[in-house]
């Protein structure tokens, strides 16, 4: 029935278009490339798969280089290792992306840094150095010291092991020096320090890339031999640069969270990641809700805000907390300085203008079902042109579903293809 109705609509409009000499759609400028990395194990193994499916189903990425510990997953190109990730950035991506392109890098992996989270059951405590790399940033006796992380924590608040003794990082006999802690992404074998991809290394590898806009999303967490952490927000101060959007589900000193369901099965994704990715999934009500400006598209800022409002670990529904961070103005904030988070209310402009693609939702009236009302909405603006010389000519951006500058048969076909679909 759906096919019949859709066919009738399409045929009618194709006939109309044929006699109307409508303009030909043009492809948007610039290409989109993605690198997806999942080294998290079962606790987060499904998250990149959700994103991969959304990108394949709804967005026009030129190519996706996909690394996963489970190489049998659909679309996976190679095993998620440090060497393969570095190769993906410094060879694959650098040879494909140009200064006009959009790049998405989405990483789900264990990590290391400095913990303010306390849970003795798993050997993690407040003030613990958790697989991070501590460097003295300021010596209280005036000796030369430097850490690119700046003055983050006093030695007396840097514990060696769970609820262990304070760590005298430079061995000078006092605990009054300020220390900076480098964060890392951990790859297998998790116990091998050489498989830690340090934030400084990631920053150096990204610096060789060409792009118009780069979005780096890191969902990180770790634990191993009583030294565990998530703390993905710690990558912001290292990776921040012009034309870059850095998004993390938590700040520099706290874990990000996933769940076992009521039957105690691992869901396989983070609370935050599920919401963030759902916001980009055109086939969901989440997309409609995330599209606050009703443009038919969801920007990175809208997806970030949607996840902020729906992440149960952020809203308090889950009795633990995480604070997602976003940086897109290149100033390295938010970050962690002298024991406190330093936020930045000025972020969000670039993220508001950046989309995964140009495709817009066919659910024009956002009622959760694609029906004749949506077809009529587009049809009523048929032959409208974005750059029409007549100032009285009405072109509604929202109805230009493929964003080619023309409201034409292609836009109506997009609605017709989804005819009678219902979003949940």
């Amino acid at each position: 029935m759906k096919m019949i109705k859709a066919s009738i609509v399409i045929c009618s409009l194709l006939a109309f278009a044929a006699i109307s000499q409508i303009p030909v759609s043009q492809a948007p400028t610039g290409k989109a490339w993605a690198v997806l990395v999942n080294a998290s194990g079962n606790v987060g193994s499904n998250e990149t798969q959700m994103l991969y499916n959304v990108l394949i189903d709804h967005y026009n990425f030129e190519d996706i280089y996909y690394l996963h510990l489970e190489t049998s997953f659909p679309g996976v190109d190679a095993k998620a290792t440090k060497a393969n990730f570095r190769w993906a950035l410094t060879n694959w991506l650098s040879s494909h992306s140009t200064a006009n392109d959009f790049v998405l890098i989405y990483v789900v992996a264990h990590g290391g840094g400095y913990s303010m989270y306390d849970n003795a059951f798993v050997g993690l405590s407040k003030y613990m150095l958790a697989d991070g790399r501590a460097e003295v940033a300021w010596d209280n006796q005036g000796k030369p010291a430097y850490s690119d992380e700046g003055m983050e924590v006093l030695e007396q608040n840097l514990l060696n092991g769970c609820r262990g003794p304070p760590l005298d990082v430079n061995g000078d006999g006092d605990l009054d020096d300020w220390v900076g802690v480098d964060e890392c992404i951990k790859f297998i074998p998790l116990s091998d320090p050489l498989q830690r991809y340090w934030d400084d290394e990631v920053a150096a590898d990204l610096s060789g890339l060409s792009y118009k806009t780069l979005a780096f999303v890191y969902v990180g967490c770790t634990a191993e031999n009583s030294t565990e952490h998530c703390f993905s927000g710690g990558f912001i101060d290292d990776l921040s640069a012009p034309n870059r959007i850095i998004i993390t589900p938590t700040n520099e000193t706290w874990p990000s969270w996933g769940a076992y369901d009521e039957n105690k099965n691992l869901l396989g994704y983070s609370f935050w990641g599920k919401e963030f990715i759902s916001a980009f999934d055109v086939d969901t009500l989440a997309f409609n809700e995330a599209d606050v400006d009703s443009s038919g598209k969801v920007s990175f800022k809208e997806a970030f805000d949607y996840a902020w409002n729906h992440d149960p670990a952020r809203t308090g529904e889950v009795p633990q907390s995480e604070t997602p961070w976003l940086d897109d103005n290149g100033n390295g904030l938010p970050t962690f300085v002298q024991g406190q988070d330093v936020l930045d209310p000025t972020d969000g402009q670039l993220a508001s203008q950046t989309y995964l693609g140009t495709l817009k939702s066919p659910d024009i009236n956002k009622d959760g079902v694609i029906d004749i009302a949506d077809v009529v909405s587009v049809a009523l603006s048929f032959m409208a042109i974005r750059d029409h010389p007549n100032p009285e000519h009405i072109y509604i951006e929202r109805l230009d579903l493929n964003d080619d500058g023309y409201i034409d048969i292609e836009d109506i076909v997009i609605v017709a293809i989804h005819f009678e679909e219902r979003y949940h």
């Binding site: 798993v122 634990a223 191993e224 009583s226």
Partner: protein
Amino acid sequence: MVSKKLPSSYMSANRVWLGLLCIVVLVGAVGGTLIGIFIGNRISSLESQVDSLQDTVSSLEDEVDRLLDELADMNSTRTFIFEWLSWEQNIVNGTLRMELTFAWKGENLSIIAKINDDEYGEQYEPDYNATMAEDLLVLVLDLNNDGQLVGESALMAYADNYTRGGVLCSNGQIATPLWEKQPSRFHTCVFEPDVGYTFNVVFPLVLLPELQHLSSDLVYVCFVDTGGSVDISFHWKT
């Protein structure tokens, strides 16, 4: 009969003596009264002190009783047995039996869980590149003594002696930080096909000082198997 009039000086002296006698009697009476009052007060004071001492003794006796109870409690072993019939769970074909034993042993809180699951559940863990235990015991104590378990950290005791962080949520979910399993400091587990799992959990005060102030005996125990899970919440001292 001839009356003899006494000399007036003699009369005066007698009056003086009589006056003195009266004074002495009066002073004696007053003094006696005062002494009586004093002694009465003193007795009253001593009585109240005795009462107070009796109260103290009584409260000390209560404290001794309480400490003796606590000592007995700490040295006592409490065992609970829970059963789920075959249609109430998907873990074993017959009745699933969970025997839980709680005991303070010196400075350690010991919890032993015996579960008659005769199949060892395991799965591949890609971040360890190894096959690891899938079955686990979830244990939540009311460490902040607020009478609620939601929000408390959970010990996720896997059958291969690994653990992972967890927090009990109101909807029955267990939220977990996205970190990998790691060797447990608090439990060991033995699996015998004929008997099932025996989880031996020991919380030493030295590693978990929160237990020093543990007054709530509310506990949540959940056994998770490949086929499903069973859980129970109860007070383990009463």
